[in-house]
């Protein structure tokens, strides 16, 4: 239970960030469809005015949104004509839940390994209030390592992911499909090595070469152990832009050392917001995080007049389960 206080802290900060940006955003007005041939950037309007609606409301609306590529044509790059993902997106909304919970696939014999904290054994006191985020790890690779607010950039030969709120980025090389090989030239890492190729208008990214430390999902003491991964983790991501207003993202996860079968994750969607950059936002690890995080979460909950349960519930929103 307490582990989720930490997530509350993170979610709060992201919410603070979003509200600061809200000052000059107008209430959402549906745009008029414009004539073919005009600049697509002029047709991008915010469907997500941060601060005007809550994160939960924004999620609901994004999840219910019906893509309209006629009104909001998919932007395309000038160099290869493929969908241009460039934009700042917030928040993440689940539009299709996983067919089965990831937890149901964990091998029984991994129990001790998970109990000890997986590839970072002993580092994270997950039965207390500690989480990987407090150690400045990127978010779960199941979430594409994306933070709450993320900027994507399409560039020749690359997709860039720039995170606000978790000081990390991903550089995803895009190659021709017949050249697509898992990268082996890098050191194993938290975010793995990515290589993407196009299948029609979908960017398919294979991510391997993980360092065995990331958690795929949170611990929920006392019942759910950390959803640890191994160096055999392989994730296939599918990125698409159904129209100019949203991106969609889904994953298939393999980790034969941890789970008994390939796991299909949720289909997630994010809405574009009317900015073209994200702010520098750094994570400073602090060895004395634990106590202070709990005190902060409790103080914030008290201020809002919420029960501990409400704070925990709010804090759990940012994590795919």
């Amino acid at each position: 239970m307490l582990a989720r206080y930490g997530i509350t802290v993170v979610v709060l900060f992201i919410a603070i960030g979003a509200s600061r940006a809200s000052a000059q955003i107008q209430t959402y007005t549906p745009p008029e469809a414009t004539a073919e041939g005009t600049d697509w950037t002029e047709r991008i309007v915010e469907i997500l005015p941060p601060g005007v609606e809550s994160r939960a409301e924004a999620r609901s609306r994004i999840a219910a949104y019906t893509p309209n590529p006629l009104a909001y044509p998919v932007p395309r790059t000038s160099w290869d004509g493929k969908p241009d993902f460039s934009g700042v997106y917030w928040p993440d909304a689940t539009i299709t839940s996983p067919p089965v919970p990831l937890e149901s696939l964990y091998r029984l014999e991994t129990r001790d390994y998970r109990e000890a904290g997986g590839g970072a054994a002993g580092l994270i006191d997950w039965r207390g209030i500690d989480t990987p985020l407090f150690h400045c790890w990127p978010r779960s690779p199941v979430e594409g390592s994306m933070s709450g607010t993320v900027q994507l950039v399409s560039a020749p030969g690359y997709l860039l992911m720039l995170n606000e709120g978790a000081n990390n980025f991903r550089i995803i090389p895009i190659v021709d499909e017949n050249e697509s090989q898992p990268s082996t030239s890098h050191k194993p890492s938290f975010q793995g090595s990515s290589v993407g190729h196009w299948e029609g208008d979908t960017l398919v990214v294979e991510v391997t070469n993980f360092n065995g430390k990331p958690w795929l999902g949170p611990a929920r003491p006392p019942d759910q152990l950390p959803q640890t991964s191994s160096d055999a983790l392989r994730i296939v991501e599918r990125w698409s832009r159904p129209d100019a207003q949203i991106i969609e993202y889904s994953v298939v996860v393999e980790d034969p050392k941890m789970i008994t079968a390939r796991w299909t994750g949720p289909v997630e969607r994010r809405g574009i917001v009317p900015y073209d950059t994200v702010q520098e936002s750094l994570c400073f690890p602090d060895p004395e995080l634990g106590t202070r995080h709990r005190e902060f979460a409790e103080a914030e909950a008290d201020k809002r007049g919420e029960s501990d349960e409400a704070a925990i519930e709010a804090g759990s929103q940012g994590v795919i389960q």
Binding site: V9, S78, T149, F169, Y275, T277, E280, F284, P287
Partner: protein, 267 residues
């Protein structure tokens, strides 16, 4: 928000403030689609939209200073500090270098560390990534103004905007948070060096990035800091060589590594 809460924010997970407001950059008229357009284009001297192409993974030799050997003209920089700043610097030590707390070194310091950097360009932007710390710089290349003051948030890497002077990208950087050091503690060009290299939030950096041939990128910066330096400091030109590979390594500054490990890595 209480002071206590602020402490937690600063000391713990510092999540950034607002996304910046800015003009959307219109994609210019569509150019002809090049069937050979993949990363081989990063070696081309020009992007498909006609700018000088700075993209690539680059690395320069480590630069720095010890007595009798100064490869980054830090002797000059040291001489430019005001007397008041010098006094402050004698009261600090290597442990006060913010990189000891996992704060990223800003440019030009980041250019002298000898670690790879990666530049990727998209229409209207250049992005600079460093392997010394997981932080990115977003550099608008259209000559647009700096981020509006009401949204400006002082940062370690500063707020960048750039314009092209011919094929040289001239980047104007302001809004530093005044925490960063201009060089490292082991840089001691003279017998009286403190190894402390303060900067202030008045710092203003003008960088010049220029690709001189297929595999060479030049960097030079002018550092003004009227609160601490009596005159602007011009860095020597740093020569970056192209590296193989399509991206830099992931680097994390993690508490389990300890500051000593981190310092060793960037030293």
């Amino acid at each position: 928000m209480s002071a206590r809460a602020m402490t937690v924010i600063v000391g713990a997970v510092v999540i950034g403030a607002a996304v910046l407001v800015g003009l959307r950059v219109a994609v210019d008229e569509k150019s002809a689609i090049d069937s050979n357009s993949t990363r081989t284009d990063s070696v081309a001297m020009r992007t498909q939209w006609g700018e000088a192409n700075l993209a690539g993974v680059w690395r320069a030799e480590p630069l720095g200073a010890s007595v009798g050997r100064d490869t980054f003209d830090l002797t000059t920089l040291e001489g430019l500090y005001t007397p008041e700043t010098r006094v402050r610097m004698t009261e600090l030590s290597a442990e006060d270098d913010p990189t000891m707390r996992c704060a990223p070194p800003a440019f030009p310091r980041a250019a002298m560390l000898g670690h790879p950097i990666q530049i990727i360009q998209s229409p209207g932007f250049a992005f600079v990534f460093t392997e010394a710390y997981p932080v990115f710089r977003t550099i608008p290349t259209t000559g647009r103004p700096h981020t509006a003051a009401e949204y400006l948030y002082p940062t370690y890497m500063g707020d960048s905007t750039a314009r092209w002077e011919g094929d040289t990208l001239v980047v104007d950087v302001t809004a530093f948070n005044g925490e960063g050091w201009l060089a490292s503690a082991q840089d001691r060009p003279t017998n009286t060096s403190t190894g402390v290299w303060l900067s202030s939030d008045a710092m203003h950096v003008v960088e010049r990035w220029r690709r001189i041939d297929a595999d060479t990128l030049e960097y030079q910066a002018r550092v003004e800091d009227p609160a601490m330096l009596t005159l602007p400091w011009e860095t020597p030109t740093v020569t970056f060589e192209r590296q193989s590979g399509d991206r830099i390594e992931e680097v994390m500054c993690r508490p389990e590594d300890g500051p000593a490990t981190y310092l060793a890595r960037i030293g």
